[in-house]
Each structure stands twice: as structure tokens, then as C-alpha cells.
């Protein structure tokens, strides 16, 4: 018996490993496809549509700004003549190059379109970068008739090279996870570098503390969701191009919003004394300060970990979506499964007929229609707040979105539960149980329900993890500040970084939930095995 179990786990492990490897492979294919679509088929200039800096600049300065942004977002590699020049003269004359006459002459020559290409350094620059496969572009200085430069008309000499999609994919994957290490801080004064478990002075528990790492607290605990906080690993799904210009998406969706939450606490250097402060600073978020410390900082902090973020009362975008989603999911399972069982048992009764019409309505009508119907009923009849931000009592604002999200899932759970129950009702073991003299109640609760629920179990991980992606329409209708509209606003705002990030996020969640669903199903039903041998 025990060897059977171990064989079972062995085959399961092997099977799971295969599944996970294939999932990673498909994720890579998906990322590459989306990158190809988004970065090569879409006009890259759309990212400047809402860019203020771009709007303010004109002529050559604008073009040059475009190139720097393309470089920042990984479209191309950019080399600037000015930097090339600086490097050349620094190697020749050290730091005193700025006043060197040759340097000034070489620097100014690109402002003169006629003489520019006769210059030796310019030739050097062109030769070097053409050899590297770059394309040289000379943005000729734009001048008025009297010789004065037009606004933004300064000349630029640059070299650009397109980045291949595989290089971009490689860069993206490399940057996906970053781990804290003791050599993260580039400061020669810092000698005592370590990572160790220490007692956390802020809650008396233990925490993983680092010195030389970017964050001071690498793993710590507190009373807020998700209770265990990880700073030593950082997930970077991508950088926003337009909407949250330059911010990382993972930071955007996990940063709490709302008012500052002030608590009574102590500065790190004051622990042990009786000096308390009222502050919203979260001392668990301390990061290394590369600049010089002020007087106050030196007094309050024992080391150079002085940069911190604040505590907030509100939830982050991810948490908001998750709270609404998880309540709706739990509610849907609690309602949908018993109603489905009941309808199957009392098949063709009036309750079953109503249930069927409800399923037809929810299944066929555009989701937009019934969400607005719920919104209209909720606001008119029950006086519930319609828009999230306008709610006087915050908790009431959650009611309508949660209901709107739960009711359709109730419909689909009812439908499948009812169908699986009816399928089971005609099977031989039920007839046998009936022949043995079991009551209908026993047959339903002990035999049929247990078998009918197995396929339902498969969907549980998907519905829980699905809460993390938020709900597009519900969140839009009620203006919920969640993650559901991340992708759609990114598409409307040409935010290519978020589009790729969302693809990775959504696709990995769905991959994980399918695998988890299979594992869960095999746990619930011992007849399902991962044995691949035998059978067809």
C-alpha cells in the first residue's frame, strides 16, 4: 500500500515537472509573440501622445528626446557624440578636459553643418559606430537667417542601433526577478556586509535583516496583509510608458493608497529610549541612502538606511480587486452549489424553471447589460452608492461591485452543478443504491453530490487566482480603483510596457491555476491519476 502511494507521488512529481516546464515554455512563446506584436507592429511614436516633455520640446531637441526615450524603453541602442567626445578627452587629459581648446572646438563643430564631417573626432565617431553596426544620424543645426539658432534647433550627432526582439526578451527575462545581495550598495565606506536573522525591534518577532543590501528588512512580519513581507526578492513585470510614466507596474498595483496612517513609534536610533514619535513613516521599508545624511537623519538613524515610505490607510489596487473578487467568489460557491443541487433534485419544478431562465439570461445577455441592471436596481431601490469614490461609507461601496461579480458566477456554478448532478443520477451506482434501499436524501448527499462536485473543484484555483486580475466591466462601471482595467487603460493610452506586463501576469496566473486545479482534483478524487502509461 505504502509503495503504491510512493509510486503515485513519484509519477505525480514527474508529471507536474513536465507540466511546469511546458507552462514555462508556453509563457515564453506568449511573451515573445506579444512583444513582437506590440513592439514591431505598433508605431512607436504613439508613446509620446500624452508626453508633456515631448510637447514642450521642438525640432532637433524633440527628435533627440524621442531617441533617448526609445533607448530607455529598449527599442534601440543610442550613442551620442557628446558623450563619446567627453570619454575621449577624459582619457587624454583627465578631469581638466573641459577647458581644453581642442575639446571646445570638437564640441562646437557639430553646430556647423558645413565643417562637421571634416572634423577628425567626428570621423572617428562615425567610423567606430558604423563598425559596430550602428546607423549614424546627423540632426543638422537649424538656424535663422541671421545665424541664431532656432528654438530646439541645436545640432546633434548620434548613432543608433535597433535591438532585436530576442535581445529584448532576454533583457526582460533577466530583469523579471532581482534578488537582494550584500553587494547591492556601492559604497566603499560600508565594510560590515551581512544578511542575518535579527530580532525585529518593531514587533518583537524575528526578521531577516541585511547590511549592504538595498532594503534593510529583507523578510519581516506585521499585522497587515499578506502578513509576511518579502523585500529580498523583487518582481519587475515591466515599466509603464505613458500612464504611470517610468514606474514599475508591480509597484503601481501594490502601493497602498489613501490617507497617511499615523502611529506612535520610535526612530531606529531611539529604540530603547523613551523618545516616541507620531509618524506615518514605515520603518520596515528602509532603504539605503547613497547621498550624505542630514543632521536630523544622523541623529535618528544608526546607519545610512534612512529612505522610507509611508503607511497608508487605504488598500492597494491589487488588494481592492482581490477583496471584491474573493468575497464574490466565496459567495458564489456558497449560493451556486446548493441551488444547483436543489434544482437537480427537484428537476422540472417551478424553482428549477426559474433557475434555468436565470442561467439563460446570465449566459446569453451581454455582461454589460446585467451589470447595469444591477447598478440601476441597487442605486434606485436600495440607495446604494453607485460610484466608488462618491461613497460616504466606504464599506457600502463594495456591495454593488461584489454582487455584480457574484451573480454571474452563481449562474454558471448552478448550471454546471445541476448538469453534473443529472448526469450522475442516471448512472448504475445510483440505481444500485436505490435498490439497496437508501433514501433519496442519502443518495443525493452521500453519493451523487460527492461525484458531481469533482469537476467543480477543478475551477476553484482559477476563480481564486482570477480575483488577482480584477474584473474589467464591474470595476469600470462602479469606478473601482482596482487592477481590472490595467490592460484596457494601457491599450487606450498606448502603454506598451503595461500591455506586456499584463500579458505575463494574466497568462502565468491562468497557467498556475490550471495546474493547481488538476492537482486539487486528483486530491479530491483518488481515481484520477497522472499515470500516462496504459489506456489510449
Amino acid at each position: 500500500m505504502s509503495s503504491d502511494v510512493s509510486i503515485f507521488y513519484k509519477t505525480m512529481k514527474k508529471y507536474l515537472l513536465k507540466r511546469i516546464l511546458f507552462s514555462i515554455f508556453s509563457l515564453l512563446v506568449v511573451i515573445l509573440t506579444v512583444m513582437l506584436l506590440v513592439y514591431s507592429l505598433i508605431d512607436r511614436r504613439v508613446i509620446f501622445q500624452t508626453d508633456d516633455v515631448w510637447n514642450k520640446r521642438s525640432n532637433n531637441e524633440r527628435t533627440f528626446y524621442e531617441y533617448t526615450m526609445y533607448q530607455k524603453y529598449g527599442y534601440l541602442e543610442l550613442a551620442n557624440y557628446t558623450l563619446f567626445l567627453q570619454q575621449k578627452y577624459v582619457s587624454l587629459y583627465g578631469n581638466s578636459y573641459v577647458s581644453n581648446a581642442d575639446f571646445i572646438a570638437d564640441r562646437n563643430v557639430i553646430q556647423d553643418a558645413e565643417k562637421c564631417f571634416d572634423n577628425e573626432t567626428v570621423q572617428e565617431f562615425i567610423e567606430y559606430y558604423e563598425g559596430e553596426g550602428y546607423t549614424i544620424s546627423y540632426l543638422e543645426p537649424l538656424k535663422y537667417g541671421n545665424g541664431r539658432t532656432k528654438p530646439g534647433g541645436t545640432g546633434y550627432l548620434i548613432a543608433t542601433r535597433e535591438r532585436s526582439m530576442f535581445l529584448r526578451l532576454w533583457d526582460y527575462l533577466k530583469g523579471l526577478f532581482s534578488f537582494e545581495s550584500v553587494n547591492n550598495v556601492q559604497d566603499p565606506e560600508l565594510t560590515d556586509r551581512y544578511i542575518r536573522i535579527e530580532k525585529d525591534p518593531y514587533n518583537g518577532f524575528y526578521a531577516l535583516v541585511g547590511n549592504g543590501t538595498t532594503h534593510k528588512y529583507l523578510i519581516y512580519f506585521d499585522s497587515h496583509f499578506p502578513f509576511m513581507h518579502w523585500n529580498w526578492i523583487h518582481l519587475n513585470l515591466g515599466v509603464s510608458y505613458t500612464k504611470y510614466r517610468g514606474q514599475e507596474i508591480t509597484d503601481v498595483i501594490t502601493t497602498p493608497t489613501g490617507d497617511l496612517r499615523v502611529v506612535t513609534t520610535q526612530y531606529p536610533a531611539k529604540i530603547g529610549t523613551d523618545e516616541y514619535v507620531e509618524t506615518a513613516i514605515d520603518f520596515h521599508s528602509l532603504t539605503y541612502n547613497n547621498g550624505t545624511l542630514t543632521e536630523a537623519e544622523m541623529e535618528n538613524y544608526p546607519d545610512k538606511y534612512t529612505v522610507s515610505t509611508y503607511r497608508n490607510n487605504g488598500l492597494s489596487m491589487l488588494e481592492t480587486s482581490f477583496v471584491i473578487g474573493i468575497i464574490a467568489t466565496i459567495g458564489a460557491y456558497i449560493l451556486g452549489i446548493p441551488i444547483g443541487i436543489l434544482n437537480a433534485r427537484k428537476k422540472d419544478s417551478i424553482l428549477d424553471k426559474i433557475g434555468m431562465w436565470y442561467i439563460i439570461f446570465i449566459g446569453s445577455v451581454p455582461s454589460l447589460a446585467y451589470i447595469f441592471i444591477f447598478a440601476a436596481i441597487g442605486t434606485k431601490l436600495f440607495n446604494l452608492p453607485y460610484k466608488f469614490a462618491n461613497a460616504q461609507v466606504k464599506i457600502l461601496a463594495y456591495i454593488l461591485p461584489t454582487i455584480s461579480l457574484a451573480l454571474p458566477s452563481v449562474g454558471s456554478l448552478m448550471k454546471w452543478m445541476r448538469r453534473y448532478m443529472i448526469d450522475q443520477m442516471n448512472s448504475d451506482y445510483v440505481k444500485f443504491a436505490r435498490a439497496e434501499g437508501l433514501s433519496e436524501g442519502e443518495i443525493f448527499s452521500q453519493h451523487i453530490s460527492k461525484n458531481a462536485i469533482i469537476p467543480i473543484v477543478h475551477g476553484i484555483p482559477a476563480s481564486i487566482l482570477g480575483c488577482l486580475t480584477g474584473a474589467i466591466i464591474t470595476e469600470r462601471v462602479y469606478s473601482v480603483p482596482g487592477v481590472g482595467n490595467l490592460l484596457t487603460t494601457a491599450i487606450n493610452g498606448h502603454d506598451n510596457g503595461i500591455i506586456v506586463a499584463c500579458t505575463v501576469f494574466y497568462t502565468s496566473l491562468s497557467l498556475i491555476s490550471v495546474i493547481l486545479g488538476d492537482v486539487l482534483m486528483s486530491k479530491v478524487d483518488p481515481r484520477i491519476s497522472f499515470e500516462t502509461k496504459g489506456g489510449r
Partner: protein, 321 residues
């Protein structure tokens, strides 16, 4: 005793042995499609639903021809914007077109009534084209996929990659990349849409492929195309109709959804989704702009769904008793 036995020759007479007649099988005439429609039309609700649907389709195809919808006809008359049905009737009293303003005016002074029909036409045409493309490709590919084992292995890998990408993501990214015209929209909806139909169909084909009668047929040397078309396909008619019943309304819903999130059809094409999207911000203030397109979309989808399900039931030979 022996006298009482009747002469056998007196009781029985020989019948001519007609070898041609004996080849005929006497059975009640059975026509599959006749039985399908007999069962289908036995339900009174189907007559009613077909009646409503025909009215809707006729309206959608005839009204825009007779009374072309022009969303910008009153765009310069700001006083005509967002008028309730009664206010619009009073405002356009001199026009002599009371029916036109029966649902009031929209945000640009446009006629909601005409708009609905022009939009319904777009939605119905879109749904039919998408369903036709997806069903044809899906069913053919599914049949081959289910039948050929080497093709199955390749397709399973492709399917497992594509199926894990949320459908919404595929469509929104594609519409974003290739633009929002009518045909590019259809392209986005069909490029991966046939895949799930094909997969579902493949599984059904797999189940039937190895049934005894199919095996016997193969042993007798029936060519594969004939096995697919004669042995497997008839069995799957109800499956095809069931898929169609869920597919057709889903494209209408999809258009409404995509227009709502801002990646729908381009602005010059009237569509139900666009009308709903334009009216949704003021849906509590100007309900007459919002609910008519919602109701039409809901009506079309519900009718298509219920009719499709009932037809699928009727195509199942087991109901033909």
C-alpha cells in the same frame, strides 16, 4: 383421428417468390431533417421566438435602408441634445416623423430609434460572419485533428499555448495592433476563436472515431474522408448546433464589451456596443439613450441562445421518437 386432419394443401397456398420485392426493407419513412423540424416546431415558444427574431432582422436590414441613420444630422443644434422621448416629440413636431424620435435623442441630437436599427444590423452581420468563419474552420480542423494522430500531437502543443492566454487579452491586443476597422475586428475575433471550437470538436470526434461501427467500416476499407463525412459527422450535428447556439450570441456580447472598454469598432460604424458606451456615463440621467440598445442586444442574444439550444435538442435523434 387421421380423417379429421385437414389437408395441408387446403390451408396453405404457395406465394410467388419475388426476389426483387424481398430485397425491400419495410420500415416507416424516416427523414432526419424533417424529424428535426417536426420536433423543433412542436414547441410553441419556438414559433414565437422565430417570429420576434424575423421582425428584428427585417427591421435591422430594412429600416436603415428606408431611413438612413445619420448620427451627425443635428450636431449643430445643441438644443436637440439628450432630449427625452416626449421632449423630442415636441421638439421635432414639424418634421412629421414621430416614429423617428420615439426613443428620444442621443448626446449629439441623433435619433436613438434609427441608431438602434443601424447598430443591430452591424451586430447581426458581425455575429453571422464571425460564427461562420469560426464554425467552418473549427469544425473542419477539429475533424482532422480528432482523426489524425500525428496532427493531434502538433495541434495539442499549439492549443496548450494559445488556450492559456486569456481570450480578452488576445482580442484587445490584436485590435490595438491591427486597428479597429470592421474586417480587422473580425480578424481579431477569429484568429484564435476557432481553436476552442476545434478542440471541443476534436474530443467529440475522438469519442466516436473508435466506436465499433466506425472500426468495422474502417476494416471494410472505407476511405477516411467518407468515414468522417458519413460515419462521424451525422452523429455530431447536434454538437455543431449546440456550439453555434453559444457562439452566435457571444460575438454580439463581445462587440458590446469591446466597444465599452474602448477597443471596439471604429467611430464611423454604428454598433450596439458603441451606442451603449456613449450612453453609459449618463445612464441614470438619460435612461432612454441607454436602455433601448441594451434591450435590443439582450433580446437578440437571448433569442439566438434559446432558439439554438432548442434546435440542438431537436437535432439529437434520440428526441425523434
Amino acid at each position: 383421428m387421421s380423417e379429421k386432419v385437414l389437408n395441408e394443401d387446403a390451408l396453405f397456398t404457395f406465394v410467388n417468390n419475388d426476389s426483387i420485392e424481398s430485397e425491400k426493407i419495410i420500415a416507416p419513412r424516416y427523414s432526419y431533417w424533417k424529424s428535426v423540424f417536426r420536433v423543433f416546431f412542436r414547441k410553441k415558444i419556438n414559433w414565437f421566438l422565430i417570429g420576434v427574431f424575423v421582425l428584428l432582422v427585417l427591421g435591422a436590414f430594412i429600416i436603415p435602408v428606408i431611413c438612413p441613420y445619420n448620427p451627425n444630422e443635428n450636431v449643430t443644434r445643441a438644443t436637440s441634445f439628450n432630449l427625452s422621448p416626449s421632449a423630442a416629440k415636441a421638439y421635432f413636431a414639424g418634421d412629421g416623423t414621430t416614429l423617428k424620435w420615439i426613443f428620444g435623442t442621443g448626446g449629439q441630437g441623433n435619433s436613438i430609434f434609427y441608431g438602434i436599427w443601424a447598430s443591430a444590423k452591424t451586430s447581426i452581420v458581425l455575429a453571422i460572419i464571425c460564427a461562420a468563419i469560426n464554425m467552418v474552420i473549427g469544425v473542419i480542423m477539429g475533424a482532422v485533428w480528432g482523426y489524425s494522430k500525428s496532427f493531434d500531437q502538433v495541434m495539442l502543443v499549439i492549443y496548450n499555448i494559445i488556450a492559456n492566454v486569456p481570450y480578452i487579452l488576445v482580442i484587445t491586443v490584436l485590435v490595438y495592433v491591427i486597428g479597429a476597422g470592421f474586417w480587422s475586428f473580425i480578424f481579431a475575433l477569429t484568429i484564435t476563436g476557432w481553436m476552442s471550437i476545434a478542440f471541443f470538436f476534436r474530443t467529440q470526434v475522438l469519442i466516436i472515431r473508435d466506436r465499433e461501427y466506425s472500426l468495422a467500416s474502417r476494416c471494410l476499407g472505407t476511405p477516411i474522408p467518407r468515414i468522417i463525412s458519413k460515419n462521424i459527422m451525422p452523429f455530431l450535428t447536434s454538437v455543431i448546433v449546440t456550439i453555434l447556439a453559444t457562439e452566435l450570441p457571444s460575438y454580439i456580447s463581445m462587440e458590446v464589451f469591446l466597444s465599452y472598454i474602448g477597443v471596439g469598432l471604429s467611430a464611423n460604424i454604428p454598433s450596439l456596443g458603441r451606442m451603449i458606451q456613449e450612453a453609459q456615463t449618463g445612464f441614470l440621467v438619460y435612461p432612454w439613450e441607454f436602455w433601448p440598445p441594451v434591450a435590443v442586444a439582450a433580446l437578440i442574444t437571448i433569442i439566438l441562445y434559446v432558439l439554438g439550444q432548442n434546435l440542438a435538442d431537436a437535432t439529437d435523434p434520440r428526441t425523434h421518437m
